[in-house]
Protein backbone atom coordinates (compact mmCIF):
# COMPACT_ATOMS: atom_id res chain seq x y z
CA UNK A 1 0.00 0.00 0.00
CA UNK A 2 2.80 2.36 0.94
CA UNK A 3 4.62 1.75 -2.37
CA UNK A 4 1.62 3.10 -4.30
CA UNK A 5 1.63 6.47 -2.53
CA UNK A 6 3.54 8.45 -5.23
CA UNK A 7 1.36 7.04 -8.01
CA UNK A 8 -1.81 7.79 -6.04
CA UNK A 9 -0.61 11.33 -5.31
CA UNK A 10 0.21 11.94 -8.98
CA UNK A 11 -3.15 10.55 -10.12
CA UNK A 12 -5.01 12.69 -7.61
CA UNK A 13 -3.08 15.79 -8.63
CA UNK A 14 -3.62 15.20 -12.36
CA UNK A 15 -7.30 14.53 -11.78
CA UNK A 16 -7.67 17.74 -9.76
CA UNK A 17 -5.94 19.83 -12.39
CA UNK A 18 -7.89 18.19 -15.23
CA UNK A 19 -11.22 18.82 -13.48
CA UNK A 20 -10.39 22.47 -12.74
CA UNK A 21 -9.02 23.05 -16.25
CA UNK A 22 -12.15 21.60 -17.84
CA UNK A 23 -14.42 23.66 -15.64
CA UNK A 24 -12.79 26.95 -16.59
CA UNK A 25 -14.62 29.50 -18.66
CA UNK A 26 -12.91 31.44 -21.42
CA UNK A 27 -11.77 34.77 -20.02
CA UNK A 28 -11.41 37.68 -22.44
CA UNK A 29 -8.43 40.01 -22.39
CA UNK A 30 -10.51 42.93 -21.08
CA UNK A 31 -11.67 40.77 -18.14
CA UNK A 32 -8.13 40.14 -16.91
CA UNK A 33 -7.53 43.29 -14.86
CA UNK A 34 -7.57 41.27 -11.61
CA UNK A 35 -5.41 38.48 -13.04
CA UNK A 36 -2.89 41.06 -14.24
CA UNK A 37 -2.37 42.37 -10.72
CA UNK A 38 1.33 42.02 -9.86
CA UNK A 39 0.46 39.99 -6.73
CA UNK A 40 -1.34 37.43 -8.92
CA UNK A 41 1.79 36.34 -10.77
CA UNK A 42 1.99 32.55 -10.81
CA UNK A 43 5.77 32.41 -10.62
CA UNK A 44 7.64 32.76 -7.33
CA UNK A 45 8.67 36.30 -6.39
CA UNK A 46 12.22 37.42 -7.19
CA UNK A 47 12.63 38.34 -3.52
CA UNK A 48 12.08 34.64 -2.67
CA UNK A 49 15.12 33.36 -4.54
CA UNK A 50 17.47 33.14 -1.55
CA UNK A 51 14.95 31.45 0.71
CA UNK A 52 14.32 28.88 -2.00
CA UNK A 53 18.09 28.29 -2.08
CA UNK A 54 18.42 27.69 1.65
CA UNK A 55 15.35 25.42 1.65
CA UNK A 56 16.97 23.44 -1.16
CA UNK A 57 20.04 22.88 1.03
CA UNK A 58 18.26 22.29 4.36
CA UNK A 59 15.73 19.80 3.00
CA UNK A 60 15.96 16.72 0.79
CA UNK A 61 13.15 17.76 -1.54
CA UNK A 62 13.67 20.38 -4.25
CA UNK A 63 12.45 21.62 -7.62
CA UNK A 64 9.17 22.61 -9.28
CA UNK A 65 9.07 25.92 -7.42
CA UNK A 66 11.04 28.16 -9.75
CA UNK A 67 14.20 27.82 -7.66
CA UNK A 68 17.48 26.43 -8.86
CA UNK A 69 17.79 22.72 -9.51
CA UNK A 70 21.55 22.39 -9.98
CA UNK A 71 24.81 24.25 -10.33
CA UNK A 72 26.84 25.18 -7.28
CA UNK A 73 27.54 23.03 -4.32
CA UNK A 74 25.35 24.11 -1.44
CA UNK A 75 27.10 21.60 0.75
CA UNK A 76 27.49 23.72 3.90
Amino acid sequence: MKRNTPVSMLSLLCLGVAVTACSCSSVKAYQKNRLNDSEMELSARKVQKFEQSFQLYREGGSGANGGKSGGGCGCN
Partner: protein
Protein backbone atom coordinates in the same frame (compact mmCIF):
# COMPACT_ATOMS: atom_id res chain seq x y z
CA UNK B 1 36.14 40.67 -0.78
CA UNK B 2 36.03 44.47 -0.50
CA UNK B 3 37.25 44.73 -4.09
CA UNK B 4 34.47 42.44 -5.30
CA UNK B 5 31.77 44.40 -3.48
CA UNK B 6 33.17 47.71 -4.73
CA UNK B 7 33.30 46.27 -8.24
CA UNK B 8 29.67 45.20 -8.07
CA UNK B 9 28.66 48.60 -6.67
CA UNK B 10 30.50 50.40 -9.48
CA UNK B 11 28.86 48.18 -12.10
CA UNK B 12 25.47 48.78 -10.52
CA UNK B 13 25.92 52.57 -10.43
CA UNK B 14 27.12 52.68 -14.03
CA UNK B 15 24.04 50.70 -15.13
CA UNK B 16 21.80 53.09 -13.29
CA UNK B 17 23.58 56.03 -14.88
CA UNK B 18 23.28 54.58 -18.38
CA UNK B 19 19.68 53.65 -17.66
CA UNK B 20 18.93 57.23 -16.72
CA UNK B 21 20.34 58.34 -20.06
CA UNK B 22 18.55 55.79 -22.19
CA UNK B 23 15.09 56.34 -20.75
CA UNK B 24 14.73 60.07 -21.30
CA UNK B 25 11.10 60.69 -22.27
CA UNK B 26 10.73 60.79 -26.02
CA UNK B 27 7.79 62.81 -27.16
CA UNK B 28 6.46 60.94 -30.16
CA UNK B 29 2.80 60.63 -30.92
CA UNK B 30 3.20 58.08 -33.74
CA UNK B 31 3.09 54.30 -33.30
CA UNK B 32 6.77 54.01 -34.01
CA UNK B 33 8.50 51.46 -31.78
CA UNK B 34 12.20 51.86 -31.25
CA UNK B 35 14.31 48.97 -32.48
CA UNK B 36 17.31 50.08 -30.47
CA UNK B 37 18.61 47.85 -27.72
CA UNK B 38 17.05 49.24 -24.54
CA UNK B 39 17.11 48.40 -20.87
CA UNK B 40 13.77 46.94 -19.77
CA UNK B 41 14.54 46.50 -16.11
CA UNK B 42 17.29 46.12 -13.56
CA UNK B 43 16.82 44.02 -10.44
CA UNK B 44 19.00 43.99 -7.37
CA UNK B 45 18.34 41.37 -4.68
CA UNK B 46 20.31 41.17 -1.46
CA UNK B 47 19.78 38.65 1.33
CA UNK B 48 21.24 37.82 4.72
CA UNK B 49 20.78 34.32 6.16
CA UNK B 50 21.81 33.05 9.58
CA UNK B 51 21.26 29.57 11.03
CA UNK B 52 22.05 27.75 14.24
CA UNK B 53 21.79 24.06 15.10
CA UNK B 54 23.65 21.19 16.63
CA UNK B 55 23.66 18.38 14.07
CA UNK B 56 26.54 19.22 11.75
CA UNK B 57 27.15 16.59 9.09
CA UNK B 58 30.86 17.48 8.96
CA UNK B 59 31.25 16.12 12.49
CA UNK B 60 29.05 13.08 11.95
CA UNK B 61 25.64 14.47 12.95
CA UNK B 62 26.76 16.14 16.19
CA UNK B 63 28.22 19.62 16.38
CA UNK B 64 27.75 23.29 15.62
CA UNK B 65 25.76 24.09 12.46
CA UNK B 66 26.09 27.87 12.74
CA UNK B 67 26.25 29.42 9.29
CA UNK B 68 25.81 32.87 7.79
CA UNK B 69 25.37 33.70 4.15
CA UNK B 70 25.30 37.13 2.53
CA UNK B 71 23.93 36.76 -0.99
CA UNK B 72 23.51 39.34 -3.74
CA UNK B 73 22.33 39.22 -7.32
CA UNK B 74 22.09 41.89 -9.95
CA UNK B 75 20.24 41.24 -13.18
CA UNK B 76 19.82 43.43 -16.19
CA UNK B 77 17.21 42.79 -18.83
CA UNK B 78 17.66 44.36 -22.25
CA UNK B 79 15.50 43.97 -25.32
CA UNK B 80 15.46 44.81 -28.98
CA UNK B 81 12.59 44.60 -31.46
CA UNK B 82 13.15 43.22 -34.94
CA UNK B 83 11.51 44.38 -38.15
CA UNK B 84 9.36 41.25 -38.40
CA UNK B 85 7.63 41.51 -35.02
CA UNK B 86 10.02 39.56 -32.82
CA UNK B 87 11.57 40.69 -29.59
CA UNK B 88 15.05 39.62 -28.54
CA UNK B 89 15.51 39.77 -24.79
CA UNK B 90 18.87 39.44 -23.10
CA UNK B 91 19.10 38.88 -19.37
CA UNK B 92 22.46 39.02 -17.67
CA UNK B 93 22.69 38.06 -14.02
CA UNK B 94 25.63 38.23 -11.67
CA UNK B 95 25.41 36.65 -8.24
CA UNK B 96 27.87 36.83 -5.37
CA UNK B 97 27.45 34.91 -2.11
CA UNK B 98 29.78 35.04 0.84
CA UNK B 99 29.34 32.53 3.66
CA UNK B 100 31.00 31.55 6.89
CA UNK B 101 30.43 28.08 8.31
CA UNK B 102 31.38 26.79 11.74
CA UNK B 103 31.05 23.15 10.68
CA UNK B 104 33.34 23.50 7.65
CA UNK B 105 36.03 24.67 10.03
CA UNK B 106 35.94 21.18 11.56
CA UNK B 107 37.28 19.54 8.40
CA UNK B 108 40.66 20.14 9.98
CA UNK B 109 40.09 21.25 13.58
CA UNK B 110 43.83 21.45 14.24
CA UNK B 111 44.43 24.16 11.68
CA UNK B 112 43.85 27.84 12.39
CA UNK B 113 41.35 28.00 9.58
CA UNK B 114 40.46 25.12 7.32
CA UNK B 115 39.96 25.22 3.59
CA UNK B 116 36.22 25.80 3.53
CA UNK B 117 35.53 27.81 6.71
CA UNK B 118 34.47 30.75 4.59
CA UNK B 119 34.04 31.10 0.90
CA UNK B 120 32.72 33.31 -1.86
CA UNK B 121 30.65 31.98 -4.72
CA UNK B 122 30.39 33.97 -7.95
CA UNK B 123 27.82 32.94 -10.52
CA UNK B 124 27.15 34.85 -13.75
CA UNK B 125 24.51 33.75 -16.27
CA UNK B 126 23.20 34.98 -19.61
CA UNK B 127 19.83 34.22 -21.17
CA UNK B 128 18.68 35.10 -24.67
CA UNK B 129 15.00 34.74 -25.51
CA UNK B 130 13.32 35.44 -28.83
CA UNK B 131 9.58 36.00 -28.55
CA UNK B 132 6.80 36.74 -30.97
CA UNK B 133 5.21 40.03 -29.88
CA UNK B 134 1.84 39.02 -31.31
CA UNK B 135 1.47 35.42 -30.09
CA UNK B 136 3.75 35.48 -27.03
CA UNK B 137 5.43 32.25 -28.12
CA UNK B 138 9.11 32.24 -27.26
CA UNK B 139 12.33 30.29 -27.49
CA UNK B 140 15.54 30.91 -25.54
CA UNK B 141 18.96 29.70 -24.48
CA UNK B 142 20.88 30.12 -21.23
CA UNK B 143 24.53 29.76 -20.29
CA UNK B 144 25.70 29.88 -16.69
CA UNK B 145 28.81 29.48 -14.59
CA UNK B 146 29.42 29.14 -10.88
CA UNK B 147 32.74 29.30 -9.07
CA UNK B 148 33.63 28.69 -5.46
CA UNK B 149 36.80 27.54 -3.78
CA UNK B 150 36.23 23.81 -4.15
CA UNK B 151 33.42 23.71 -6.72
CA UNK B 152 32.94 24.85 -10.33
CA UNK B 153 29.79 24.51 -12.38
CA UNK B 154 29.10 25.12 -16.06
CA UNK B 155 25.47 25.16 -17.10
CA UNK B 156 23.41 25.38 -20.26
CA UNK B 157 19.67 25.55 -20.75
CA UNK B 158 16.87 25.88 -23.24
CA UNK B 159 13.45 27.44 -22.69
CA UNK B 160 10.32 27.29 -24.79
CA UNK B 161 6.96 29.02 -24.31
CA UNK B 162 3.70 28.35 -26.15
CA UNK B 163 0.58 30.42 -25.49
CA UNK B 164 -2.93 29.60 -26.66
CA UNK B 165 -4.73 31.92 -29.09
CA UNK B 166 -7.04 33.23 -26.33
CA UNK B 167 -4.01 33.74 -24.03
CA UNK B 168 -5.62 31.70 -21.26
CA UNK B 169 -3.29 28.71 -21.43
CA UNK B 170 0.49 28.78 -21.38
CA UNK B 171 2.94 25.91 -21.66
CA UNK B 172 6.58 26.34 -20.63
CA UNK B 173 9.44 23.92 -21.09
CA UNK B 174 12.83 24.47 -19.51
CA UNK B 175 15.67 22.00 -19.99
CA UNK B 176 18.89 22.46 -18.04
CA UNK B 177 22.24 20.72 -17.71
CA UNK B 178 24.94 21.48 -15.15
CA UNK B 179 28.39 19.96 -15.49
CA UNK B 180 30.14 20.40 -12.15
CA UNK B 181 33.60 19.60 -10.85
CA UNK B 182 34.26 19.14 -7.17
CA UNK B 183 37.63 19.31 -5.48
CA UNK B 184 37.52 16.42 -3.02
CA UNK B 185 38.46 17.70 0.43
CA UNK B 186 38.62 15.03 3.13
CA UNK B 187 38.50 15.28 6.93
CA UNK B 188 42.08 15.59 8.16
CA UNK B 189 42.20 12.24 9.98
CA UNK B 190 40.76 10.33 7.01
CA UNK B 191 43.20 11.56 4.37
CA UNK B 192 45.37 8.80 2.88
CA UNK B 193 49.12 9.21 3.12
CA UNK B 194 50.22 11.95 0.68
CA UNK B 195 46.71 13.36 0.16
CA UNK B 196 46.57 17.17 0.32
CA UNK B 197 44.35 19.47 2.36
CA UNK B 198 43.06 21.19 -0.76
CA UNK B 199 43.74 24.62 0.65
CA UNK B 200 46.81 25.30 -1.50
CA UNK B 201 48.20 27.30 1.41
CA UNK B 202 49.81 24.85 3.78
CA UNK B 203 50.74 22.15 1.29
CA UNK B 204 50.86 21.45 -2.43
CA UNK B 205 50.05 17.77 -2.20
CA UNK B 206 47.47 16.66 -4.78
CA UNK B 207 43.76 16.20 -4.17
CA UNK B 208 41.17 14.47 -6.37
CA UNK B 209 38.67 16.26 -8.58
CA UNK B 210 35.40 14.50 -9.29
CA UNK B 211 32.41 15.33 -11.51
CA UNK B 212 28.80 15.88 -10.52
CA UNK B 213 26.38 16.37 -13.39
CA UNK B 214 22.73 17.40 -13.14
CA UNK B 215 20.07 17.31 -15.85
CA UNK B 216 16.54 18.57 -15.42
CA UNK B 217 13.44 19.28 -17.47
CA UNK B 218 10.68 21.52 -16.17
CA UNK B 219 7.21 21.29 -17.74
CA UNK B 220 4.69 23.84 -16.58
CA UNK B 221 1.13 24.49 -17.64
CA UNK B 222 -0.57 27.75 -16.60
CA UNK B 223 -4.31 28.12 -16.94
CA UNK B 224 -6.71 31.00 -16.39
CA UNK B 225 -9.69 29.42 -14.66
CA UNK B 226 -11.90 32.46 -14.12
CA UNK B 227 -11.60 36.23 -13.92
CA UNK B 228 -10.25 35.79 -10.37
CA UNK B 229 -8.48 32.44 -10.38
CA UNK B 230 -5.47 31.05 -12.18
CA UNK B 231 -3.45 27.89 -11.66
CA UNK B 232 -0.20 26.30 -12.66
CA UNK B 233 0.96 22.68 -12.76
CA UNK B 234 4.71 22.04 -12.71
CA UNK B 235 6.50 18.73 -13.19
CA UNK B 236 10.29 18.85 -12.99
CA UNK B 237 12.06 15.49 -13.26
CA UNK B 238 15.82 15.59 -12.80
CA UNK B 239 18.78 13.24 -12.75
CA UNK B 240 22.13 13.62 -11.01
CA UNK B 241 25.22 11.57 -11.64
CA UNK B 242 28.74 11.60 -10.19
CA UNK B 243 29.99 12.42 -6.73
CA UNK B 244 26.77 13.06 -4.82
CA UNK B 245 28.20 12.43 -1.35
CA UNK B 246 29.95 15.28 0.44
CA UNK B 247 33.26 13.66 1.23
CA UNK B 248 34.32 15.94 4.06
CA UNK B 249 31.27 14.84 6.02
CA UNK B 250 32.07 12.17 8.60
CA UNK B 251 30.00 9.16 9.60
CA UNK B 252 30.53 7.30 12.89
CA UNK B 253 29.51 3.65 13.17
CA UNK B 254 28.24 1.43 15.95
CA UNK B 255 31.22 -0.91 15.60
CA UNK B 256 34.77 -1.12 14.33
CA UNK B 257 35.91 -1.99 10.81
CA UNK B 258 38.39 -4.82 10.34
CA UNK B 259 40.72 -2.48 8.46
CA UNK B 260 41.48 1.14 9.17
CA UNK B 261 41.80 4.27 7.06
CA UNK B 262 43.84 7.46 7.25
CA UNK B 263 47.60 7.95 7.12
CA UNK B 264 48.18 5.68 10.12
CA UNK B 265 45.53 3.14 9.19
CA UNK B 266 44.10 3.44 12.68
CA UNK B 267 40.62 4.92 12.40
CA UNK B 268 38.24 2.04 12.98
CA UNK B 269 34.73 3.39 13.53
CA UNK B 270 34.74 6.39 11.20
CA UNK B 271 34.34 6.85 7.44
CA UNK B 272 33.61 9.64 4.98
CA UNK B 273 30.00 9.88 3.83
CA UNK B 274 29.03 7.40 1.13
CA UNK B 275 25.98 7.81 -1.12
CA UNK B 276 24.95 6.32 -4.49
CA UNK B 277 26.49 7.84 -7.62
CA UNK B 278 23.12 8.62 -9.18
CA UNK B 279 19.83 10.11 -8.06
CA UNK B 280 16.48 10.54 -9.80
CA UNK B 281 14.17 13.26 -8.47
CA UNK B 282 10.53 13.90 -9.28
CA UNK B 283 8.80 16.98 -7.84
CA UNK B 284 5.23 17.76 -8.91
CA UNK B 285 3.70 21.04 -7.84
CA UNK B 286 0.57 23.13 -8.25
CA UNK B 287 -0.04 26.82 -7.65
CA UNK B 288 -3.42 28.47 -7.26
CA UNK B 289 -3.73 32.26 -7.04
CA UNK B 290 -7.11 33.74 -6.17
CA UNK B 291 -8.11 37.41 -6.25
CA UNK B 292 -10.54 37.53 -3.33
CA UNK B 293 -11.32 41.26 -3.51
CA UNK B 294 -9.56 44.58 -3.90
CA UNK B 295 -7.74 44.11 -0.59
CA UNK B 296 -6.99 40.38 -0.35
CA UNK B 297 -5.27 37.93 -2.68
CA UNK B 298 -4.58 34.31 -1.81
CA UNK B 299 -1.45 32.66 -3.20
CA UNK B 300 -1.04 28.92 -2.59
CA UNK B 301 1.54 26.30 -3.49
CA UNK B 302 1.71 22.56 -2.94
CA UNK B 303 4.49 20.15 -3.94
CA UNK B 304 4.90 16.43 -3.72
CA UNK B 305 8.49 15.21 -4.01
CA UNK B 306 9.96 11.75 -4.41
CA UNK B 307 13.45 10.50 -5.29
CA UNK B 308 15.43 7.30 -5.77
CA UNK B 309 17.12 7.64 -2.34
CA UNK B 310 13.77 7.12 -0.61
CA UNK B 311 13.01 10.73 0.28
CA UNK B 312 9.30 11.64 0.10
CA UNK B 313 8.13 15.13 0.96
CA UNK B 314 4.97 17.23 1.06
CA UNK B 315 5.37 21.01 0.97
CA UNK B 316 2.52 23.50 1.28
CA UNK B 317 2.67 27.29 1.24
CA UNK B 318 0.12 30.02 1.66
CA UNK B 319 0.65 33.73 1.28
CA UNK B 320 -2.07 36.38 1.63
CA UNK B 321 -1.13 39.75 0.17
CA UNK B 322 -3.16 42.47 1.88
CA UNK B 323 -3.38 45.50 -0.38
CA UNK B 324 -3.67 48.71 1.59
CA UNK B 325 -3.67 50.63 -1.68
CA UNK B 326 -3.04 49.54 -5.25
CA UNK B 327 0.65 50.18 -4.66
CA UNK B 328 1.32 49.05 -1.10
CA UNK B 329 0.83 45.49 0.10
CA UNK B 330 1.84 43.46 3.13
CA UNK B 331 1.86 39.68 2.78
CA UNK B 332 2.11 37.30 5.72
CA UNK B 333 3.15 33.81 4.60
CA UNK B 334 3.52 30.32 6.01
CA UNK B 335 5.24 27.23 4.63
CA UNK B 336 5.02 23.69 5.98
CA UNK B 337 7.25 20.81 4.91
CA UNK B 338 7.06 17.19 5.96
CA UNK B 339 9.83 14.89 4.80
CA UNK B 340 10.42 11.17 5.06
CA UNK B 341 14.21 10.81 5.14
CA UNK B 342 16.52 8.80 2.93
CA UNK B 343 17.07 5.14 3.70
CA UNK B 344 20.81 5.87 3.97
CA UNK B 345 20.49 8.17 6.99
CA UNK B 346 21.27 7.26 10.61
CA UNK B 347 22.33 9.52 13.50
CA UNK B 348 25.79 9.66 15.08
CA UNK B 349 27.18 6.22 15.96
CA UNK B 350 24.17 4.26 14.72
CA UNK B 351 25.25 3.09 11.26
CA UNK B 352 26.22 -0.56 10.90
CA UNK B 353 29.65 -1.38 9.47
CA UNK B 354 27.97 -3.66 6.90
CA UNK B 355 26.15 -0.82 5.16
CA UNK B 356 27.27 0.22 1.68
CA UNK B 357 25.81 3.74 1.75
CA UNK B 358 25.64 5.92 4.85
CA UNK B 359 25.16 9.52 5.88
CA UNK B 360 24.49 11.44 9.10
CA UNK B 361 23.41 14.57 7.26
CA UNK B 362 20.21 15.74 8.96
CA UNK B 363 19.16 17.63 5.81
CA UNK B 364 18.34 14.16 4.42
CA UNK B 365 16.66 12.83 7.57
CA UNK B 366 12.98 12.51 8.47
CA UNK B 367 11.87 15.97 9.54
CA UNK B 368 9.16 18.60 9.54
CA UNK B 369 9.80 22.29 9.10
CA UNK B 370 7.80 25.47 9.52
CA UNK B 371 8.66 28.75 7.88
CA UNK B 372 6.78 31.93 8.68
CA UNK B 373 7.33 35.51 7.60
CA UNK B 374 6.19 38.77 6.10
CA UNK B 375 6.65 40.42 2.71
CA UNK B 376 6.24 44.19 2.26
CA UNK B 377 5.91 45.55 -1.26
CA UNK B 378 5.93 49.17 -2.42
CA UNK B 379 5.28 50.05 -6.05
CA UNK B 380 3.99 53.66 -6.19
CA UNK B 381 3.10 55.05 -9.64
CA UNK B 382 5.56 57.95 -9.32
CA UNK B 383 8.37 55.64 -8.18
CA UNK B 384 9.65 54.58 -4.78
CA UNK B 385 10.77 57.64 -2.75
CA UNK B 386 9.61 59.73 -5.71
CA UNK B 387 12.35 58.33 -7.97
CA UNK B 388 10.52 57.58 -11.22
CA UNK B 389 12.77 54.72 -12.31
CA UNK B 390 12.72 53.03 -8.91
CA UNK B 391 9.73 50.87 -9.76
CA UNK B 392 9.38 48.42 -6.85
CA UNK B 393 10.85 47.87 -3.42
CA UNK B 394 10.26 44.60 -1.56
CA UNK B 395 11.43 43.60 1.88
CA UNK B 396 10.90 40.03 3.03
CA UNK B 397 11.79 38.46 6.38
CA UNK B 398 11.24 34.90 7.55
CA UNK B 399 11.91 32.58 10.47
CA UNK B 400 12.55 28.86 9.85
CA UNK B 401 12.15 26.09 12.44
CA UNK B 402 13.14 22.48 11.75
CA UNK B 403 12.16 19.54 13.96
CA UNK B 404 15.85 18.54 14.20
CA UNK B 405 16.52 21.71 16.23
CA UNK B 406 17.90 23.85 13.43
CA UNK B 407 16.51 27.39 13.32
CA UNK B 408 17.30 30.20 10.94
CA UNK B 409 16.36 33.72 9.93
CA UNK B 410 16.49 35.32 6.54
CA UNK B 411 16.01 38.92 5.41
CA UNK B 412 15.87 39.83 1.73
CA UNK B 413 15.65 43.17 -0.02
CA UNK B 414 14.67 43.41 -3.69
CA UNK B 415 14.71 46.54 -5.81
CA UNK B 416 13.42 46.82 -9.34
CA UNK B 417 14.31 49.70 -11.66
CA UNK B 418 12.46 50.24 -14.93
Amino acid sequence: MRKIYLGVLALYMSILASHAQTTQPVKDSSNYQSRQLKIDEVNFVSGYYHQTGNHSAVTGGMGDETLTDFANTLDIQLSKLTKNGYKNTFQFELGIDHYTSASSDKIDPNSISSASMQDTRIYPSLNWTRSNEKTGNAFGLTASYSHEFDYQSVGAGLNLTRISANKNTQFDLKVQAFLDTWKVILPVELRPLGYGSGSGKDDNRPVDNKPRNSFSASFSLSQVLSTRLQAMLIVEPSYQHGLLATEYQRVYFNGNFSTGVGPDNDIFNERIESLPGSRYKLPIAVRFNYFLDDHFIIRTFYRYYTDSWGIRAHTAEIEVPIKFTSFVSVSPYYRYNNQQGTRYFAPYGQHSVNEKYYTSDYDLSTLTSNFVGLNVRLAPPNGVFGIQQFNTLELRAGHYMRSTGLTSNIVTLAMKFK
